[in-house]
């Protein structure tokens, strides 16, 4: 320990013993912070304290010396715990950096771009609750005016989830334009997931495709939240759901496939449970609240609708997300 520090400590202690002034205690704490920064261990502080006390009360040295030796002995394990902490903090920071890089890589790897299909307006919001999202959206645009989208919620978050998503992406990328039917797509991805993943890893996924020529929206679901269809002419909402097990549970699963025709002004909202299960101080946010917001915004462009929904729901949850939050909106122009 530097001698300077010792002198400073001793002088402060002496002053405090004389006047018992708060100023000295404030100064002492500033000093103790510096001690910690300089990796001076608590047993060294006790030793320094002992020396200082013996200087101030030389007549007591013999009498109370051993009690300080005892205290030094006791403090050694505290010192070790602290040193471990300092090394752990460095390790933690390194892990943090690795995580940050992984997030960046994940983002690049899983990048998707919104299809440009005539007559279809698409909006997308996807926000992670923590650093890495467990929600995943992937678009594919086929040459003949088809816009396909997968909206998935991977059980768990972080790295294992990220690796799962790359399976979905590459699974979808390997599809040929002849095979974009929901039933087929869900089966293919279910088999990849089932084969590659642990039994404890499940994925819910909604897959839909819009065909410009027929204005049909065909969809299937692997245990995912139902989508919402807004019928402009009737001003009402219809749930779009289809039977199907979560991905990765069983090898052979039948996925139900359904379709609806979209008319001008209709829109379909696909989402994850982070949207429907938002909580505020009073409990869950009612579905009616969400539908009302959608209704209010119904004449706006798709992106504005989803942005508005996100902002409002985030505010209602006191600026905290309890789960990853994803909204995809297909609007027939």
């Amino acid at each position: 320990m530097p001698q300077e520090v010792g002198k400073q400590y001793s002088a402060l202690l002496q002053k405090y013993i004389q006047h018992e002034d708060e100023t000295d205690l404030y100064a002492a704490q500033q000093v103790s912070r510096k001690f910690i920064e300089k990796k001076i261990s608590p047993e060294e502080v006790i030793s320094l304290h002992k020396t200082s006390v013996e200087e101030i009360f030389p007549e007591l040295a013999v009498k109370i010396g051993p009690s300080y030796d005892f205290l030094i002995e006791v403090m050694i394990h505290y010192g070790l715990a602290l040193m471990e902490h300092q090394s752990l903090i460095r390790k933690q920071e390194a892990m943090q950096i690795e995580m940050d890089v992984a997030v960046k890589v994940q983002d690049m790897l899983l990048e998707t771009s919104i299809p440009k299909v005539e007559g279809l307006d698409i909006g997308l919001v996807s926000k992670p609750a923590k650093k890495m999202s467990g929600d995943y959206v992937y678009f594919i645009e086929q040459k003949d005016g088809e816009a396909c989208v997968a909206v998935a919620d991977v059980m768990g978050k972080g790295l294992p989830a990220a690796l799962c998503m790359s399976m979905i992406k590459f699974g979808m990328d390997s599809l040929r334009s002849s095979a974009t039917e929901p039933q087929h797509v869900l089966q293919v991805i279910n088999q990849i997931v089932e084969k590659s993943m642990d039994d404890s890893m499940f994925i819910s996924m909604f897959y839909g495709k819009f065909d410009k020529k027929t204005c049909e929206f065909t969809y299937g679901s692997a245990g995912h939240e139902p989508a919402l269809l807004y019928r402009a002419d009737e001003d009402r909402f219809i749930e779009l759901d289809a039977k199907g097990l979560l991905l990765g549970i069983r090898k052979d699963v039948d996925f139900q496939q359904k379709s609806v025709e979209m008319s001008s002004g209709d829109f379909i909202v696909m989402l994850t449970d982070g949207v429907t299960e938002g909580r505020n101080a009073e409990g869950f946010i009612e579905e009616e609240v969400i539908l009302d917001m959608l209704r209010t915004m119904k004449d706006r462009p798709a992106q504005q609708i989803v942005d508005h929904l996100y902002t409002e729901l985030f505010k209602m949850q006191n600026y905290m997300l309890h789960d990853d939050f994803t909204l995809v909106l297909f609007k027939k122009e």
Binding site: E22, T23, R33, I36, H85
Partner: protein, 133 residues
């Protein structure tokens, strides 16, 4: 019972005054030596944050007595720049946080209850309470 006293924070000396006030109140409320020192340290950290990051502000101390429970609340308020990323400020274990274990997470640990309200551009109010056991 509502028993409030306060210290305005402008200079480093005011930090010491706030500490002194807090220690006296803690002692009079019946807190032991270690808890007195903890409450004082929490006040010190909060006052120092005001002094360093907001320039000026106020430390208020309120003695509590409700339902037979006695305690002490510290309210640190300023009209400074506010905290843009609360999550980050409350996070543990960054060697950049200036002093291991200190800062906001430290104050939270020294006290029993802890609440931050902050709006960027408007200021920050931190309320922390310790109960007498």
């Amino acid at each position: 019972m509502n028993n409030r006293s306060s210290v305005e924070i402008f200079t480093e000396w005011d930090i010491v005054a706030a500490r002194q006030l807090g220690r006296n109140e803690a002692k009079n409320s019946g807190f032991g030596t270690v808890d007195q020192a903890r409450i004082t340290t929490a006040i010190s950290e909060l006052a120092r944050n005001i002094y360093l990051y907001a320039g000026k502000g106020k430390i208020e101390i309120e003695r509590l007595e409700t339902d037979g429970m006695k305690g002490m609340t510290i309210i640190a308020s300023d009209e400074g720049p506010g905290i843009p990323d609360l999550r980050r400020v409350m996070e543990d274990g960054f060697s950049t946080s200036g002093g291991l274990g200190a800062g906001m997470p430290g104050v939270k640990r020294l006290m029993d209850d802890f609440k931050v309200e902050s709006e960027v551009g408007k200021g920050t109010t931190i309320t922390a309470t310790k109960w007498l056991r």
